[in-house]
Symmetry: C2
């Protein structure tokens, strides 16, 4: 193969992480760019989405989706340009939403590709506020959280891709919104830019007291994506008939199980009984269909109006994806984390 | 007062129980029967319902209702005859559903009384299959459990006042029904009389394996009223999108908190996430209204048809209520427990 042939860089899972992923859990390899067969397209990755759920797929514990195997390309949603097409429905230059993972190029049969408008101002937003994380916020808050005007909605990871949308949606529906975020900059952003009523820093002391002070009427909806100490602080504040949509548990993904402590499972069940709580886990992929089209239309309008604001944390270069992902799991990103792979 | 004056025996809470209530936690005292003031009726208790929730009201831990105070008459639903009336809407001899507690006589303003047909074949059933426990089964299974034909419904306390109705309702809706009950006699009854597909004895060894064998397609709805080891056996069998209506935790009511063990709260939340579970506590008193009338009509028809069967465990004499209640909390009753106070 001549040295000038284009190469495909791929980041694969080199081993299963124990706890927080380490650099050695990833490996960048390089292959020749494959040519599309008849009926296939070759995709050039422009943007790669990094999301907490990916940590779950690196583990072989039972979950809602099959785990990655060692040696597999890391998975992920992408915005791609069709580089070469032998598929009747796509032409070179088309912009598409794909799930082609952590690599420069990928082949596709066209299945699962969603065409994007060619003149999209912010193609990467299709990976965030207008895509899976935004829809996760919409489904979890509106379908499961069912907030009523005047209620208090608390949301973890308040400036993240999901949490920032949850809080702004809850404000649009007339709720008091209390965010929980890591560090004063994120808390300032949640209140000043996103319009939350309050935001509590989970890294500072006395989280439980400060969250209670920010929630004088208790909490009616807690949008959970974090678990751990944040959930512990929320529990005593839950009102009767509180709803807990549950889309993630980022603080637990890297936890080592089996720590000896009082077993609080019976306490949680008792609280669910005495307060008539509804705790409901959900996977956004179960909810696509007409509801997604409704979400797309409404969210586009709200963004155009300025009623929903959106912040991205853009990392340059595929080779920096592992470090950015390790940072994501520790809350180092500020806004929706995407990698610009090519422009 | 002449020696022949009728006396009112009352069972009061003598102290707060620690763990399983003991005889010393109750005291029978005797007072003169009060006379009704203008606008009041005097009720004569015929039947007293004994239900697990009463244990919670003896505790001062925060819950959905105010706790009893030491010296208060034990609370409970009753079927009463109006002994004397100075209320325009009631006449001596009327049969009513009341909440007059563990005593022979009580005064009432009429508020909260429900008139029963004078010729009712089984007045005490208004405390069971046609009353609060039956409605608890109906609300929890149909509104929260939302079973679909072909799904597997598991129910704890399978021959109890609630569980026996849950299982029979689930069969009527085309589900596979797996009961969990204490002892071979109850399990036989659940299968032979109530028509459950299987029933597993939680007192025998290897509960988890036997429950798994009885649930070859996993569990889609688990109707929870028990907690503890039964819940632990159910958890690994829950299917994706399983629903857990939660109306009680009888095994926990007497538990001493704070045992050191692995904290399984994070495990439960992770399971709720990865399996998209819905765990929902409910208090039946939140659901009265049109749904109760629908329940009453349907349940009466099903009983008349023989499609729902009902078993009572009738204890004779108010003075035996404390021992019967202590037995209830340990599963000694077989069917809905009621006390015949007078005939």
């Amino acid at each position: 193969m001549p040295p000038s042939a284009p190469m495909n860089r791929r980041i694969v899972m080199a081993r299963r992480p124990a706890g927080i992923p380490a650099p050695e859990d990833f490996r960048l390899d390089t292959q020749a760019v494959p040519g599309p067969a008849d009926g296939q397209v070759l995709l050039r990755t422009l943007y790669l989405s990094l999301d907490p759920y990916m940590r779950g797929r690196m583990s072989d514990a039972a979950s809602y989706a099959k785990p990655l195997e060692v040696g597999d390309v890391m998975l992920g949603g992408t915005v791609c340009r069709v580089a070469e097409s032998r598929h009747p429905d796509f032409a070179a230059g088309d912009l598409v939403l794909a799930a082609s993972g952590w690599q420069d190029y990928a082949l596709s049969s066209g299945k699962g590709l969603t065409r994007l408008p060619p003149d999209l101002a912010h193609p990467s937003w299709s990976l965030g506020v207008l895509g899976m994380p935004g829809f996760t916020a919409y489904v979890g808050l509106m379908q499961i959280g069912t907030p009523k005007a005047g209620e208090t909605v608390a949301v973890a990871a308040a400036t993240g891709a999901v949490g920032s949308v949850v809080g702004q949606l809850a404000r649009l529906h007339g709720c008091r919104v209390v965010g929980i975020a890591g560090g004063p900059d994120k808390c300032d952003h949640a209140v000043r830019e996103l319009g939350f009523d309050a935001c509590v820093d989970h890294r500072a002391a006395n989280l439980a007291q400060r969250l209670a002070a920010a929630s004088p009427n208790g909490i009616d909806v807690y949008f959970e994506s974090v678990g751990g100490a944040v959930f512990d602080a929320v529990l005593p504040l839950l009102n009767r008939h509180a709803r807990i949509p549950l889309c993630g548990l980022i603080s637990q993904y890297n936890a080592v199980p089996g720590v000896e402590a009082p077993d609080r499972l019976p306490m949680l069940m008792r609280l669910a009984l005495t307060k008539s709580l509804r705790i409901q886990g959900f996977i956004v992929s179960d909810w696509y269909g007409p509801l997604y089209r409704e979400f797309s239309r409404q969210m586009s309008d709200w963004i155009a109006d300025g009623r929903i604001k959106y912040r991205e944390d853009v990392v340059e270069g595929l080779e920096n994806a592992p470090a950015a992902f390790m940072g994501l799991l520790q809350g180092h990103n500020f806004g929706k984390l995407v990698v610009r792979v090519a422009s």
